[in-house]
Symmetry: C2
Subunit: 376 residues, 2 copies
Amino acid sequence: MSELELLKRSLPQRFKKSPEEMLKALEEGRLEPMSMVSGFRVKKGLWGLEPGTVLTPEWLIPAFPRIPRLFVLKEGLRRNFTGPFYAEEKIEGYNVRLVRLSGKIVAITRRGYICPFATDRWPDFLDLEAFFDRYPHLMVCCEVAGPENPFLTEWPPYISRDIRFFVFDLLDLSTGCLLSPEKRYRLTEEFSFPAPEVHGPFSAHQWQEVAEILKRYDREGREGLVFKERQGQRVFKYVTPRSNLEDLRVSIAFAGDLHPAYYLHRIIRLALAHLELEERRDEELWRDFGQAVFPPLLSALKEVKRGGRITEQFRIRLRSKLAFENLLKHFAKTQVRIKILHQSWEDGYLVVTFSKEYPRSTDFWASKLSGAPEVD
Amino acid sequence: MSELELLKRSLPQRFKKSPEEMLKALEEGRLEPMSMVSGFRVKKGLWGLEPGTVLTPEWLIPAFPRIPRLFVLKEGLRRNFTGPFYAEEKIEGYNVRLVRLSGKIVAITRRGYICPFATDRWPDFLDLEAFFDRYPHLMVCCEVAGPENPFLTEWPPYISRDIRFFVFDLLDLSTGCLLSPEKRYRLTEEFSFPAPEVHGPFSAHQWQEVAEILKRYDREGREGLVFKERQGQRVFKYVTPRSNLEDLRVSIAFAGDLHPAYYLHRIIRLALAHLELEERRDEELWRDFGQAVFPPLLSALKEVKRGGRITEQFRIRLRSKLAFENLLKHFAKTQVRIKILHQSWEDGYLVVTFSKEYPRSTDFWASKLSGAPEVD
């Protein structure tokens, strides 16, 4: 089938696009053919579709919505919830959408790529075949989290090896709507899906109870909470000071790759949370903040000074060699430079350690350390 | 005289611009007529002229060059200086260029405005009439620094009241070149001009002596050093950790007005300086950093939370009411919102206290504190 033919079958009638418009979108690269499945990812916003949307002959798979953030609990909960809401643990992981397409269950990343890693590993954690047999029109939204994931260097403190899947949302592809929290809780329980810890329901005036959970999460090194309307689609997130400190710690060496706002936003969130939660003494915050930023920054500088590079280390386990090859293709396509350090089979898993290379950040520090002047 | 006529007389022949091109530049607002003197400021880069350049029938007054920054001393000095260089104290102040135009001595800001404050106050500090009688073709580059200046909330620790002028460069308007350091030292001494502290000359291998000065400056709360080639035009700057900490302290409340890179750059400079100077124990840096960022940030949040605004307080003294009126016009033109709090005559000076209003930063914090969600 030609690309145009496939697109005609994948784009719902209601979009009313001519073949010329479709061809143009393909030529301009706004739509990109998927790997492993028949369909297209929306690369740049198009026809009202968010980047990360996936078009297939079976389903239009909406991009996972960006969850609005609250900076304060008391006013934030009062302002945004008129009725009761649940507070679910926000899991430090990466987001995938699992769907069954032409009989094959695949995990799709935020940006709309097939995730070879999660597509390989879901059978270890979720009985999705049984689920999709019964609910072929539902999309399973998961966080993939743990020390052995291929994308993130942060994970929940209670996962000490490998990864876990956490089902945090179910979306009805036939309507584009999320299932209500309680419907989702029933289904995840029925299928024994691992899911984030749930608190509530609460009303906005119970913000102090919510604050107590966050203070505990902060002590335990957990990321935060996602607030979900009991009846409705409103969702908001809030993260712990510790999560912001950890973000700073793992990111500061990559200042040549990240936008400066990445750091400032976390400082701002820290201050607003500290003002309301009083989760640590003032002096502890000063110290924790400096300790989050400077030791990793000074280590990175020393590493580059002695001729080293800015890298991140990963270790993952996969069920097949093919999945790893697909992951390598995925990295190549998304311009992530990696270097394989070790691979071996252990207990039926291909265990791979690799490093991601950050030449921009390496050069960023190397230039300054070399004595090159800069005009700012 | 028409604007075009004045521009024809102000733009040197070598630019070879037609009247049409000149009119276009005026119409597009790339050139703006000066207040108080006959001439134009270059608002946006034009014909190879930097923003801040001033064109007058007497002189083309070049923009003050941005001084490249070094992040490390040892490699930086070695790489950038083949011969000896001086190290002059970098003064925490604002930069003005003083020239005599049609018999009137005026101070010009970095952006090419007449500075009503420095234009009013120079006679208290510099005998410029005598200087320009002898050297009408020289431009006097000064830092204006002290607790009673209208622009900055930082100043050198050894100035406890009012302001001072520091002559740090002399530029020959007939050639566009800076005088060599030693020529400048002779002239500033001859005219008893106050000037920044001078160290050296040094060679690059003496970087540790330079580091010792910076460690002392750091302890004393001074801003840094400017390195100037003994024979030549090369100039570089380097600031102390304390100066970066103070920048963070006075700026963090204005995160709604400043670019996020403003903060990140200072964190980066702190780390690079700390690595080389070892000016304080590691734990002191962690604490000093947190103490620079959070107390002012939390104060600002509390202020906005109780309905207050983000402002800066200033107190200045002027020799005339007219100078103050001109300063108010300058603020209006440069879109600085101020509120006069008090004015009175003291010992022949008009002493004014005023606050600068930062509605963008106020709204930035107020929105977050109100519980408004943000998608990031």
